[in-house]
Symmetry: C2
Subunit: 388 residues, 2 copies
DNA sequence: TGCTTGCCCTGTACCGGTACAGTAGCGGTT
DNA sequence: AACCGCTACTGTACCGGTACAGGGCAAGCA
């Protein structure tokens, strides 16, 4: 108990038992490398001396792997607010659990860049809804850490897991068209932080939308609408997880029942979105926004789906419980997590056999790229277009 | 490009530039230790050679800190399903972001104990709703890693952040009593995985409930109910995040309108919960369960609050949006996260000045222990007891 | 008896950095 | 000229482990 209590290390235990340091190491990390009897003796001595086990940092350095995978995501605030992101995280955690790997949430922000190049050791990384080219990602890539990109625009040869957002959105829009809707609104994100209605033409909106999912969904909606000659009214929904009705409010505010402009008249009016008759249906970026739209509709005395059809996206846990239950596009978030973790574990394993610090290129076969399907789930929030 | 491409390290760069290894290290980690001109030269050379920066594992070992804090939680599946846990995680992440520290989700499960003592390096840990005495926690504690316990039963001298669940629950129960309710149901978790009504006396239920929050809330409810001589009917809600109505269903199934037993008759009937008249009010462990209870009530044609009052707990994001809006007990999850991270950062800082591997005991002052208040939020889901 | 085999254990050589205590040079006092 | 205090860089000594290639020794086998 003197002041000179040096840190207890493998050596301390080795000396106490009278074996080599290596044997103590094996007692903890490779039980099959020594006799059971000696192992027990060592473990007892360790317990007695207060040795808790190999220091993870040192082990990580020596082994070249640390037992953790990183999650790179733009904003964690964001990630924990959105139900789909959260469920995705949960799926990852669930997949990782049996492997014993930890999940490290890496800060991508790098607030003051002056800060020391903070960097945490990981054996692999999942890049999720993260602006491509971020410095953290680049660093990991160059270091040869296996990365899996999820819901990201296709990068050069990188493992990727994506959802067929575009096809899902297309199906959603087609669903409305099949019901006879011709005046269709869109409420989506990624176009700015202030709610409002877009005057810009759709093509420009696509170009403006940087984030992957919003862009793909917009593309999908437009695929179907363009083919039908329908030009939608697009409203901006702020990236805000409580006021999910603001986009719908802007959309419905913009419609002037007195106006006679027919939005079916095609892409003629170059002025963009002008006040027109109220849409009879709304395509929403997410179920959360769709739910806000339902609230907004109710607040205005609009019946859903008689007066207004509403389509969501994701099929989150609430979609089936709203009133009316939400027609939406389902994505399998669990499958996404499974695929991501699976691919990552494969890549980590492959790296281990090949070379400890080998080049980041993958000479063998094409990079594994998964695209998960989406599926339209028709519920009660959509119905035939009302007679004009 | 030859096969002999050795790993690029500090030394590689040092040799290329013609300086000592230490100087290269400083160029990355302590820019003020060398002239700007040389630093630029070194950084350029590093870039050219493909050196990405100090290896985090090695740096962690040498520095004694890795730039990450751990989150120890019983089941991550659990943690990501519950909105309150999720928001707590978000709050932690938000607090951590400006510090540049990563958040590592440590697996507490240790499935096959035979697995190598998986252990990831962290500078500190937050223990959240985790069975006390878990091996991972114990290991970190003995290693001298600062830990903050959140929503955990008070441990021996450990930093702790708690919420005054008991007072909140007491207030909730008192609120019902003030409305004249005497037949009160409780739907809570932690009593088993099958929905049903408890026959055991309340005292035993308290003893059975191991998890901290469920126990404290139960204690709080009973504080008020006991004082009023009311004996509640307790229903078990499985720890299940989709079928949140099962507890309420069991509770309401158990009530037989024909029976004449009056639960106000005090703790006389030693047989425990017998079919009695339907409760006029329900105390729920969480808002999620309260929401399920609202659904169940509606499905049975019970009006809330005219026929049945419902109280939740937590004041989650949905509580204000249900129909009717939920009376609940608010806890400030953000404050909880802030307090936890604050205490942890203090402890980490304190450890650094004291000694790198000093004893885990804290000789100075009493351990910092925070208890955050709760607050009853009365909304529309509670009202006067109906006339019998 | 001699040779192989396999089990246990040990010695050496790293893993890739950082802390800390110098040392050299240099402009400026006294 | 001796002394001082700076700034800029260097050398050494770790940080606490693990991989891998032996080496001693008893059992198995011809």
């Amino acid at each position: 108990m003197g002041t000179g209590t040096r840190k207890v290390t493998l050596q301390t235990v080795a000396d106490a038992v009278g074996v080599s340091r290596m044997t103590v190491s094996n007692a903890f990390s490779r039980p099959d490398q020594l006799s059971e009897e000696l192992r027990v003796r060592i473990l007892d001595a360790a317990e007695r001396l207060g040795y808790v086990g190999p220091d993870p940092a040192a082990r990580g350095l020596a082994r070249g792997s640390v037992g953790a995978v990183g999650l790179l995501t733009a904003s964690l605030r964001h990630t924990f607010s959105d139900e789909i992101s959260t469920r995705f995280l949960g799926a990852i955690a669930r997949e990782l659990a049996p492997t014993g790997l930890a999940l490290t949430l890496l800060p991508t922000a790098e607030p003051a860049d002056a800060a020391p190049a903070w960097d945490v050791a990981v054996d692999g990384g999942i890049v999720y809804s993260c602006p491509p080219g971020s410095r953290s990602i680049e660093r990991l890539r160059r270091r040869g850490v296996p990365l899996v990109h999820v819901d990201q625009p296709p990068d050069d040869d990188a493992l990727a897991v994506n959802v067929d957002d575009r096809a899902g959105a297309r199906a959603a829009a087609q669903h409305l068209l099949d019901f006879g809707h011709r005046r269709i609104g869109i409420v989506t994100v990624g176009l700015g932080d202030r709610a409002g209605v877009e005057a810009r033409p759709p093509a420009e909106l696509v170009a403006t939308t940087a984030a992957h999912a919003p862009r793909q969904r917009l593309l999908g909606w437009l695929d179907a609408l363009d083919a039908a000659g329908v030009r939608p009214v697009v409203a901006r929904q702020p990236d805000n997880y409580v006021d999910t009705h603001l986009g719908a409010r802007a959309l419905l505010d913009a419609s002037d029942p007195a106006a006679s402009v027919d939005s079916v008249s095609g892409p003629a009016s170059a002025t963009g979105a002008v006040p027109g008759p109220r849409p009879t249906a709304v395509l929403c970026f997410s179920d959360a926004i769709a739910e806000g739209t339902l609230r907004e509709a109710r607040a205005r005395g609009l019946r859903v789906p008689q007066d207004l059809s509403v389509v969501g996206f994701d099929d989150n846990g609430l979609a089936g419980w709203t009133d009316p239950p939400l027609t939406t596009v389902r994505q399998d978030v669990d499958a996404k997590g499974r695929a991501a973790v699976g691919a990552l574990l494969d890549a980590i394993a492959a790296r281990r056999v090949r070379a400890p610090g080998s080049p980041p290129v993958r000479p063998d076969g094409p990079p594994r790229r998964v695209v998960l399907p989406t599926q339209l789930v028709a519920r009660g929030s959509t119905g035939p277009a009302p007679h004009a």
